[in-house]
Amino acid sequence: MREIFCADDLGEFGLNAATSGSAFVEFDRVQKSYDGEVLVVKDLNLAMPKGEFLTMLGPSGSGKTTCLMMLAGFETATHGEIRLDGREINNIPPHKRGIGMVFQNYALFPHMTVAENLSFPLEVRKMGKSEREAKVKHALDMVQMGEFGNRRPAQLSGGQQQRVALARALVFDPELVLMDEPLGALDKQLREHMQYEIKALHDRLGITVVYVTHDQSEALTMSDRVAVFNDGVIQQLAPPEDLYERPDNSFVAQFIGENNKLTGKIIGRNNDKVQVSLADGSSIEALAVNCGGEGEETLMSIRPERVVLGDDTAQNATKAKVLELIYLGDHIRCRMNVHGNEDFIVKVANSAGHTHLKKGEETTISWLPEDCRALDI
């Protein structure tokens, strides 16, 4: 699925949209508080171009659902403006926004059949009967549920209910569809299958999707861009590659994927590189991403698969003691003591002729300064 979009293009477009004001969905300095004491969403700025698949990812309670509900109109923003297609929608009631929505528990009406569920949004739009039936049939076929029109939601499996919910959110041709953890209740295999189907539908229909999830692999595989939420603030908004390879701050680095941490004090700066002195007395070179000036503490993040074994002539080469080896088939996970950090993980690919490590052995590892990102602490 990776080749579906071109990350660079979208990144640029995203930036342009944010500045030019031609975005399809736009949050402008939005704040939200439920109780007047705590800000659940703090200063949210977000611009989405038409057709984008944007995922909100973040730990529980970080304000993802709240953002979605403000966009759908079920919660009002305490401050700031939300715009849809250039129009301010803060005061437009939900039923006039024309936004499709898939809920976490699907919210299929239990007293209606599948077909009646799908026909509901068309009925409230006063669509004629024959047109309605055609659209319902088309939408059900689209999610391969054509034969289930006469069933009640209770007579469907979780995955089938999920598809019906999806079809119902799409049947009235909304341009924007919101999904709040739609796959949360499914098992892993079905979830992966549905991820693929949702993504395929998005590509085919050209709709704009705001998707909320807990699951980072889901976010990374499906999205054009991911907004990482924490504590009511977007920590980073970027395409999946950037998010993984170029995290802006230590929260994102730790939240997305696996990550080795080293802390130290900055002792010198040379363009985009900093020299950091570690607790054990040694000093390493790192890429200055989001760190302070000389004399300040920083947290450096190194991805396990970016660490190279052997080669003691390389930059940043250091001695490492092997503490634990876990065989995982395609790679071997190796826990080492590096610069005093006993949880330093190195992934050794199980390729022909790879270095065979033994527990207790002392070896040399190294990494490129570009792969060691100095971040906030």
């Binding site: 759908a72 109109g73 079920f74 009631p93 939900p94 039923h95 006039k96 926004r97 024309g98 936004i99 499709g100 929505m101 809920f103 976490q104 528990n105 919210a107 009406f109 239990p110 007293h111 509901f120 949004p121 409230v124 739009r125 119902r168 959110a169 009235f172 919101l178």
Partner: protein, 420 residues
């Protein structure tokens, strides 16, 4: 897989060779026995203290043997009699003989009461004749008619023929304003004696009104309770339940204080000029009083099932409806309301059944036109001592309740009912 095998007759075979079905049944049997053991005490209690008394009492509606039992000689003759021809000398002789016996064993009162129910004024005829029966001599026909001319009256004998039948539809017929005649036919009672049907209709009318008023008043309250935060809703729920902590009698008398002519409400009406001081509304000791106080007393039974159903409906349904373009009203009517029907059904049936047999409140505040069938049953149980008629009216009431239950099942479906 190797441990189980299938054979065409027994299906799957368990490891030890017995058919799996039988093994399962054996395993389940023990847990069923245990489960049954746990409910036995309650089951016995229900049978002994509830079902048996009800059945015994209801049999009185169709069975009363006080004539046949104490008048053994004349009874078979009455049964054979065609209810039209002159009673024969033999019948008079048997009657005289029976009267002597009943006089001696002091059962004449029961017999006289029984016949008196069919034809009023015959009580004294029986007691008087029994007193003189010992001295009577053949021919008994003339002798008895000598004692009282009423013995010559064929209506007396017809009343006896009706009383002679122990298993009789007479009481049930009476309960629905019909006369059961000696020849086995039914006739409608005179206009001014048809009171029961009117009473049943009024009881139904009051019950239906109270149920509907309960839905209309209770639905918004239950909705509010289900949407408020738990803390507030618990507090309000206590207010809803508060009436349960005061006795029914207190609540009813409180309504008397509020609604009576010199009561709080009428005083307010006068103050605000809605009623003249000498022409106050009569809000109590009539149907209005019964309706107001019964609606109030039964309202919690409506609110509680409604609330418990509404609490289980996630807000996401209504939100989903709105996101699809439904206005507030459409979302409520097409999505929310249908899901509360089980609650309305449960509360409605509960309130209706309680209302249809309500007793204390109509007795205290009902006055002339606000009393209900249960007050009449009480009258026959305690004042007129016509238990058989009371039982017959109870039976009709039971049939009405069962009919509504059946109707509800047909329209809404009983398995749709949610009590909590």
């Amino acid at each position: 897989m190797s441990e189980t095998a299938t054979n065409p007759t027994d299906g799957v075979i368990a490891v030890d060779g017995t058919p799996l079905k039988r093994k399962l049944a054996r395993a389940l049997f023990r847990s069923r026995v245990r489960a049954f053991g746990l409910v036995v005490p309650l089951l016995l209690m229900i049978i002994l203290a509830f079902l048996v008394p009800i059945i015994v009492f209801l049999t009185q509606a169709v069975y009363n043997n006080s004539f046949e039992r104490y008048m053994p000689s004349v009874s078979p003759m009455l049964a054979a009699w065609d209810a039209e021809s002159e009673p024969t000398e033999e019948m008079f002789a048997a009657l005289a003989a029976d009267l002597v016996i009943t006089k001696n064993n002091k059962n004449i009162g029961k017999v006289a009461t029984r016949v008196n129910r069919e034809l009023s004024g015959t009580r004294s005829l029986f007691t008087k004749s029994a007193r003189k029966a010992k001295k009577l001599e053949a021919p008994f026909k003339e002798a008895l008619i000598d004692v009282d001319k009423k013995w010559a009256n064929i209506a007396t004998w017809q009343a006896m023929k009706i009383s002679e039948k122990s298993l009789t539809p007479a009481y049930l017929a009476n309960a629905v304003d019909l006369n059961y005649e000696a020849d086995g036919s039914y006739t409608v009672k005179d206009e001014d004696r048809r009171i029961h049907i009117k009473l049943f209709l009024r009881t139904l009318q009051i019950s239906i009104f109270v149920t509907l008023a309960g839905v209309i008043l209770g639905y918004p309250v239950a909705f509010l309770l289900s949407t408020l935060p738990v803390r507030t809703s618990n507090l309000l729920l206590i207010l809803v339940l508060l009436p349960f902590w005061t006795s029914l009698l207190v609540r009813t008398t409180a309504w008397i204080a509020v609604l009576q002519g010199q009561g709080v409400l009428n005083d307010l009406f006068v103050v605000f000029g809605l009623a003249a001081d000498d022409d106050r509304f009569s809000l109590i000791y009539n149907k209005t009083g019964t309706l107001i106080s019964m609606t109030h007393i039964l309202l919690p039974f409506m609110i509680l099932p409604l609330y418990s159903v509404m609490k289980t409906i996630p807000v996401s349904y209504v939100r989903a409806a709105k996101s699809m373009g439904a206005t507030n009203w459409t979302a409520f009517w097409r999505v929310y309301f249908p899901q509360t029907i089980p609650g309305i059904g449960a509360g409605g049936i509960l309130v209706f059944i309680l209302a249809i047999s309500f007793y204390i409140t109509p007795a205290l505040v009902g006055g002339q036109n606000g009393t209900m069938i249960s007050n009449f049953i009480d009258f026959h149980m305690r004042s007129s001592l016509n238990w058989s008629l009371a039982a017959a009216m109870g039976m009709v009431l039971l049939v009405i309740v069962l009919f509504f239950y059946w109707l509800y099942d047909r329209i809404v479906g009983i398995d749709n009912m949610k009590l909590g």
